[in-house]
């Protein structure tokens, strides 16, 4: 609309339809917009109360160890007092992460499919691959709020709780790049796998249960195979379980894969990873391979739809 | 069976209301539906579906009573021995073909010869060609017909259809209407809802107009029109001499305004009935040749919008 001339008398403005002459930004901008909206949707922002409660409820759960650390740190100042180690953090909350991925992934891709908004997206100047990747990016980023963010809070909590905060920070500053790097790898892998499963399950219910099943069934099955079957070859099965792979990746980045002798293959995933005795760098690489493979399949999936 | 139903109304709705929280979907409606085709007409959200759901016993009236074939319908599954229902939602079992869908319905009704019943029902909606294909691949019109076949399988005396023509193209619509007319001619009761006047006008002998949850009019279309002869209306006229005709018409008591513009004349009247009754004589007496007389908007459409607007 035009700015009115400063005139003494009144004026009538044309409120009829006007074309758009302004700039038209390209495909990357459109993608960025889709990513931002998906990210907001993941936390239920701009949507109803229920998705917000669900998402933020899980975020609160994911923060529990960090908050406990903060509280304990405030009450009992101690010099080197660690309740939860940064390297264990993701393992402790992995169950919450899986539920979060299950709930959000089915919303992110499922809602567009169910409300059939997908057709509208594809009628815009973007390509289908863009859509798929934007969704994976959004889910992965939203996971940061449950992984890296609580780690930052816990780090701060420990620093505040330490008798000499600055000394403590100097001693532990190495943890920061570690939990950031391992957190990023985890988020990308979980995000891609979650979107992959959700994009194949039409119903919200099946998306939900399929995501949970993929992570936990593979974890259990591989766990049983490793602990029960007496063969060194079964170590390769570890790569079929994303939770094992992520576990290994985080442990490697924190340089915390323990030395394990031949017989202790039972028990926690981390020990099974240790028992397998692959070169450590293979775990982050395997994580990223999971992420890449899942993303490729998602892209293929959306190329075929409609 | 059909004659027995003919003796009294198959559907009785007495002072029925239904509200959801503070929202009143249906507000104190009473009517009865007897044999023949009755159209339930109203804009979207007027409460048609709520009414039909209450009649089918799927919704409890918040107040009032609904009886179908002499029995209260709420939660009364037994009425379906003689009632067929075609729901509005497009949902179907995507893995079944129309024949198996009808067959399953026939079996759920415990019919003696379900195969024959299913065959007959599918034939009624002329879906034989596609009957063995899974319904998941059907077009909307075909789904609609499959739903109708499933509702007809037990040859019900009362057939309730919620927006049955949604998604059908003109050809399918004509065919379905013909089928429903034949059933009505056999003395059965058919109640269908629609928000498209054209459909109701073509098919229904009786009309129930629902607006904002209230019954705005009921009866025969023509009767409704006659009851409303006093509604304002505009006619478009062309004649051999518009000025002379205007002079003649201006004297009529119910003519409110006349406007002449390039070869045509718009006459606004305050009384539809009186105007149509008088126009012939007025024109003849003026000696002008009337070439065209046309209600400015579709007459029934205007009945409808008049009701909806009030």
């Amino acid at each position: 609309m035009t700015t009115p001339e400063p005139a003494p008398s009144g004026a009538i403005y044309d409120l009829g339809y006007q074309g758009y002459e302004g700039p038209r930004l390209g495909r990357l901008y459109a993608l960025w917009s889709l990513y931002l909206l998906s990210l907001r949707n993941a936390f239920g922002i701009g949507r109803g109360a229920l998705p917000k409660v669900l998402a933020f409820g899980l975020v609160v759960f994911a923060f529990t160890p960090a908050v406990v650390t903060l509280i304990v740190g405030a009450v009992v100042p101690a010099d080197d007092f660690e309740i939860f180690a940064p390297r264990d953090y993701y393992g402790i909350i992995q169950f919450i992460l899986v539920i979060f991925v299950a709930a959000i992934a089915s919303d992110l891709v499922g809602n567009d499919r169910r409300s059939r908004t997908l057709a509208l997206y594809f009628s815009r100047p973007i390509e289908r691959d863009d859509y798929a990747l934007a969704k994976i990016a959004a889910l992965s980023s939203s996971l940061l709020a449950l992984t890296v963010l609580p780690q930052v809070v816990m780090f701060a909590g420990n620093a505040l709780g330490a008798a000499n905060g600055l000394d403590w920070m100097r001693d532990n500053v190495d943890d920061v790049p570690r939990f950031v790097a391992s957190g990023l790898i985890l988020c990308v892998t979980f995000g891609a796998v979650g979107i992959l499963v959700a994009s194949y399950a039409e119903r919200r219910a099946f998306a939900l249960i399929s995501v949970v099943a993929i992570f936990f069934v593979s974890l259990t099955v591989v766990g049983i195979i490793i602990s029960e079957i007496d063969s060194d070859q079964v170590r390769w099965s570890l790569f079929l379980s994303p939770l094992h792979v992520i576990d290994g990746s985080t442990a490697y980045i924190f340089d915390a894969i323990p030395q394990v002798d031949e017989f202790s293959r039972n028990g926690e995933p981390i020990n099974q990873v240790a028992w397998a005795d692959f070169p450590g760098y293979i775990w982050p690489l395997a994580s990223l391979a999971w992420a890449a493979l899942a993303s490729a399949i998602v892209v293929r999936r959306f190329r075929g739809s409609i | 069976m059909a004659t027995e139903a003919a003796t009294n109304a198959a559907i009785e709705v007495r002072n029925v209301s239904r509200w959801y929280g503070d929202v009143v979907a249906v507000n104190d409606i009473s009517f009865s539906v007897g044999p023949g085709i009755t159209g339930l007409l109203g804009p979207n959200g007027a409460g048609k579906s709520t009414l039909l759901h209450m009649i089918s016993g799927f919704l409890r009236p918040s107040a009032g009573a609904v009886e179908v074939l002499g029995e209260p319908s709420w939660r009364n599954t037994e009425i379906f021995r003689r009632v067929g229902l075609v729901p509005e939602r497009e949902a179907i079992y995507p893995f079944l073909g129309a024949r198996d869908f009808a067959l399953a319905s026939a079996r759920l009704h415990g019919l003696a010869d379900p195969h024959e019943a299913a065959r007959r029902a599918v034939a009624l909606v002329e879906l034989e060609d596609a009957q063995d294909r899974a319904m998941g691949g059907y077009s909307k019109g075909m789904r609609q017909r499959a739903k109708i076949a499933a509702a007809l399988v037990h040859d019900p005396d009362v057939l309730i259809l919620d927006e049955p023509f949604n998604g059908t193209d003109p050809r399918q619509r004509l065919q379905l209407m013909e089928m429903l007319r034949r059933r009505a001619a056999e003395g059965r009761t058919i109640l269908f809802s629609s928000h498209i006047l054209e459909e109701v006008e073509r098919l229904a002998e009786n009309v129930l107009v629902v607006v904002n949850g209230r019954l705005a009019a009921s009866g025969d279309f023509r009767q409704i029109r006659h009851l409303m002869t006093d509604r304002p209306h505009t006619f478009e006229l062309r004649s051999s001499d518009n000025r002379a005709l205007a002079a003649a018409l201006v004297g009529l008591p119910h003519v409110a305004a006349i406007e002449i513009s390039d070869g045509r004349m718009d006459v606004r009247t305050s009384d539809f009935g009186a105007f149509t009754a008088a126009i012939g004589r007025a024109v003849r007496d003026s000696g002008v040749t009337l070439r065209e007389l046309r209600p400015a908007d579709e007459s029934l459409e205007s009945v409808f919008s008049y009701l909806v607007g009030s």
């Binding site: 758009y20 901008y29 908004t117 009628s123 100047p125 | 077009s139 003109p170």
Partner: protein, 308 residues
């Protein structure tokens, strides 16, 4: 330049041939796309948007190859699908802003455009509410708004009046006509209610079984016929009898009497009026009947069956 040009466009799905060698040339304006369900209307629109690849043949939209330059086509066209496509848990404003951004409109402009367009389609305060609670009519408006928000040169409207009641249908058709005439945007509108097409469209494309049946200007296709339709409030039968007695060729259909009026001389009009007055019948209508599109595309036997 032709708006749309297709040559030998064919689309086969595993079992079905949706489009079968369709060659078209569409000029700017409001054009109706008609055909029974499954005729290939939606498939055609999707191919033109570059959403679906044709099995063979070519399609150009706004001078761009729909298959290879789909992205650029989609920058310049708007699409309103037939089916529901709105996320129920977002407000109309947010959704339309988002769709504007998806078309590359920067954030501040997107907000302005969304407000503008929502006003044009007649959504005011309610645009801040969640779409899930909207009536069908309001949803259709939002669907139109999202198709218009990036100021396209061409709009594809797939069954825009689907599910609307008469009032909603009127309003939507007015909106479509305004969009075409005032906003100067070309429109391809599909519908199976022919009366709607007649009301707003200038051109017409008829397809059936994926093939072109007819194309041209509506006015040419619905030439007047030499039949006078006389509608009276009651006793059409008596009127028909009287007119027949006076030597006219008549047919009574419900409340309407159709009178053959070859040559269209005033004599026939006068005879009819005289008969109406003689019988003292209220006269509702006297007009030359146009052929409706409906008649053009239906087998002759079915047209007579619609009296009620």
């Amino acid at each position: 330049m032709a708006l749309i040009e297709t040559a030998g466009l064919t689309k086969r799905y595993s079992a079905v041939t949706a489009l079968d060698g369709l060659s078209l040339e569409v000029e700017p304006g409001i054009v109706g796309l008609v055909g029974p369900n499954g005729a290939g209307k939606s498939t055609l629109i999707k191919i033109l948007l570059g959403l679906v690849d044709a099995t063979s043949g070519s399609a150009e939209v706004l001078g761009l190859d729909a298959a290879r330059e789909g992205l650029r086509v989609r920058e310049r066209v708007g699409y309103m699908p037939e089916h529901d496509c709105l996320p129920p848990d977002q407000s109309a404003t947010n959704f339309v802003i988002h769709m504007a951004r998806m078309s590359g409109i920067p954030p501040s402009h997107a907000r302005e455009r969304a407000a503008e367009v929502l006003r044009h389609v007649g959504l005011f305060e309610e645009r801040y509410r969640h779409v899930g609670g909207y009536s069908t009519g309001m949803k259709q408006r939002v669907k139109l708004a999202q198709a218009l928000v990036h100021d396209p040169e061409l709009l594809f409207l797939d069954e825009p009046t689907n599910g609307l009641d008469p009032q909603g249908r009127d309003e939507m058709l007015d909106l479509v006509a305004r969009t075409g005439n005032e906003f100067g945007i070309s429109i391809i509108m599909s519908s199976h209610l022919l009366s709607e097409i007649e009301r707003v469209c200038e051109g017409l494309i008829v397809i059936e079984s994926g093939q072109l049946m007819r194309t041209g200007r509506i006015a040419e296709l619905t030439d007047e016929t030499a039949v006078l339709a006389v509608e009276v409030e009651w006793d059409a039968d008596r009127l028909a009898a009287l007119l027949a007695e006076r030597g006219l060729e008549v047919q009574a259909l419900g409340r309407t009497v159709e009178v053959a009026a070859a040559g269209g001389a005033d004599g026939v009009h006068d005879t009819i009026l005289d008969a109406v007055v003689t019988l003292e019948l209220p006269l509702v209508r006297l007009e030359r009947r146009r052929r409706t599109l409906e008649e053009l595309f239906q087998p002759a036997t079915e047209t007579a069956g619609d009296d009620a």
